[in-house]
Amino acid sequence: MSKYTEDDLREELKTKEYEYGFYTDIESETFAKGLNEDVVRAISQKKNEPEWMTEWRLEAFRIWSEMEEPEWANVTYPKPDFQEIAYYSAPKKKPKLNSLDEVDPEMLATFEKLGISLEEQKRLANVAVDIVMDSVSVATTFKETLAEKGIIFMPISEAIQEHPELVKKYIGSVVPPTDNFYAALNSAVFSDGSFCYIPKGVKCPMELSTYFRINEGGTGQFERTLVVADEASYVSYLEGCTAPQRDENQLHAAVVELIAMDDAEIKYSTVQNWFPGDNEGKGGVFNFVTKRGLCETNAKISWTQVETGSAVTWKYPSCVLKGNNSVGEFYSIAVTNNFQQADTGTKMIHLGKNTKSTIISKGISAGKSQNSYRGLVQINSRAENARNFSQCDSLLMGNECGAHTFPYIEAKNKTAQIEHEATTSKIGEDQLFYCNQRGIDTEKAIALIVNGFSKEVLNKLPMEFAVEAQKLLEISLEGSVG
């Protein structure tokens, strides 16, 4: 990422509109709206998928058809009409690329605007980028460096062709199509996403990173991410999102599955900045995501997320602590402003002995937004000596927003130790006056206070992501007080 100065920030703060709300004019091929078995078949065919994949999708579609959209979350929104969504969109000029020179210049310009220029990424030489623009990946870098270590990092559509045995074995193994309404939908129609495999004993030498964008108007995005860390391997995976401004609501229903085998570690970081809707709450992305990781013996999965965008967020990155001594972590900052609604948290399912989980959730609400933490800590009867520590802090700005905490605790083993701490605070006039008196204006003071509040989580992010996240926090809360 390019160096971000405070002047840049000031410049950005001047613009009230969503800063990444531009629209890339790339010819796209889009399916007619609507969903039925033929559409599912057509998606599969478009991607030249093998029979087993087509069947898997069709089965998921049948499951989905029987399901009802869930309503238990603390959010209200107009239900999407699933027959009014186009389920496939691919840039028409789909290129087979060997170098950046072959990338559509228009698309490169978009990346420039987003500050994720590939040239720079390449120069930085430490981040391999697999970019998902709409549904089809168009550029992949550093594949060779990774290949030397036997690491597979590619669009999942390619992985289905090139590594069918791996995909077939693991897809749906952590989040089966039957899991929930959106996971079933995703399983039926997922367009693309990333696949990552780290072989035994390999420590991935760079942060793997994917940038997602929603682009084609009215196209739902259904990414599928599958990360498999084989025994005693390590990988840090970064996912970042921005979306162009749009008038109609956009549906986003991704599925992310992580598998950490014995002694493996996966660190999965997300900065999510989908268009939240304008100041009146119009437009904005609906984000219904299922993220879950499975930990085998001595394995560790760590989720870190910074959620600043989306009109509606429904997301619970979870860990199934199956193996003995496995560790699950969840660090989250969720910011809601204006009319945004977030219902987010985690599930820590303790199955193995001596399993440990940590949950640090920071919710920041401003404007007329509603921010809910929903978390489940479940200690299975066989899970001797399980430990959990949860901390949920809420920060409120103004008098019209809401912060809610819904912690669920189910302990079926007497040796469990579960701690839950929760605080709610408000940015006070006296704090702001104190900062003002030291020469710090209100906007900057809020940024400072919010960054201080979020610090424990920001510290968990890889460096370049932390800078971007801090910037996003400031932009998201701009104009929220006074």
């Binding site: 006039e429 900057k444 400072l448 201080g452 509040f453």
Partner: protein, 250 residues
């Protein structure tokens, strides 16, 4: 430096300052004393620009310019510093980060670049040595879990870093033990120069044993009713405030 003319200010419709006059010249130390509820802290807040207060009459001039319409941060950029009676806590923001932000925001307002990190570190080192401040406390969250003494020391440290023209110390001595009091007084004495000025708001005389004021004013019912030299403070200590009230009546 500071000229307060016929200042009338109210909060929630209640008049607190009722025509207050005060002039402070560079190099001077003024003490403002008075009974509870006289308007001492209000005066400090109004000069610093706290928006809860409404100035209905009069002016506040800093170096000849009326600042009564400026936002609090603009007044800070002009060189006004208020040491708070109750400094706020900001969890997760270190003292160093806070003061760095304050200095750079002030520089930005003046069209200057951020202070280079090296200069900032040198300055922090210099000022903490000057004030005998253990640098360990600089990496703690601002005022979080600080003792009363540490909070006030932190205020004085920030004052040293920001180098204001006019520093107002609002009841900085309240709740301090004698050692902390000495640290504060020592800080003020070391920072005092021909070019800056101090207003010390205090309820008690004891801080004035260590910081010798050039003038002592007695604030009563929103006005300065008596002005004298350092000896007035001693007299107040010995006799209380009632005799002044009686003087006013007669």
């Amino acid at each position: 430096m500071l000229k307060v003319n016929n200042l009338v200010a109210e909060i929630d419709g209640k008049q607190i300052l009722k025509g207050l006059n005060l002039e402070v010249k560079p190099g001077e130390v003024h003490a403002i004393m008075g009974p509870n509820g006289a308007g001492k802290s209000t005066l400090a807040s109004v000069i610093a620009g706290k928006e809860d207060y409404e100035v209905t009459e009069g002016t506040i001039e800093l170096e000849g310019e009326d600042i009564s319409e400026l936002a609090p941060e603009e007044r800070a950029h002009e060189g006004i510093f208020l040491s708070f009676q109750y400094p706020v806590e900001i969890p997760g923001v270190t003292v160093t980060n806070f003061i760095k932000t304050a200095i750079n925001e002030t520089r930005k307002a003046k069209g200057l670049e951020d202070m280079p990190a090296k200069d900032m570190l040198n300055k922090i080192r210099e000022k903490s040595n000057l004030l005998n401040i253990d640098r360990k406390f600089l990496s703690r969250s601002l005022n979080e879990g600080f003792s009363g003494g540490e909070k006030k020391r932190n205020e004085i440290f920030q004052m040293a870093m920001l180098e204001p023209k006019l520093a107002i110390l609002d009841e900085t001595d309240s709740g301090l033990d004698i050692d902390a009091l000495k640290v504060v007084a020592n800080g003020v004495n070391k920072l005092k120069s021909e070019d800056n000025a101090f207003i010390i708001i205090t309820h008690y005389q004891r801080l004035l044993d260590y910081i010798i004021p050039d003038f002592v004013h007695v604030l009563h019912d929103g006005k300065i009713v008596k002005t004298g030299d350092a000896s007035l403070a001693l007299e107040l200590e010995a006799k209380g405030y009632d005799w002044i009230k009686e003087e006013l009546v007669s």
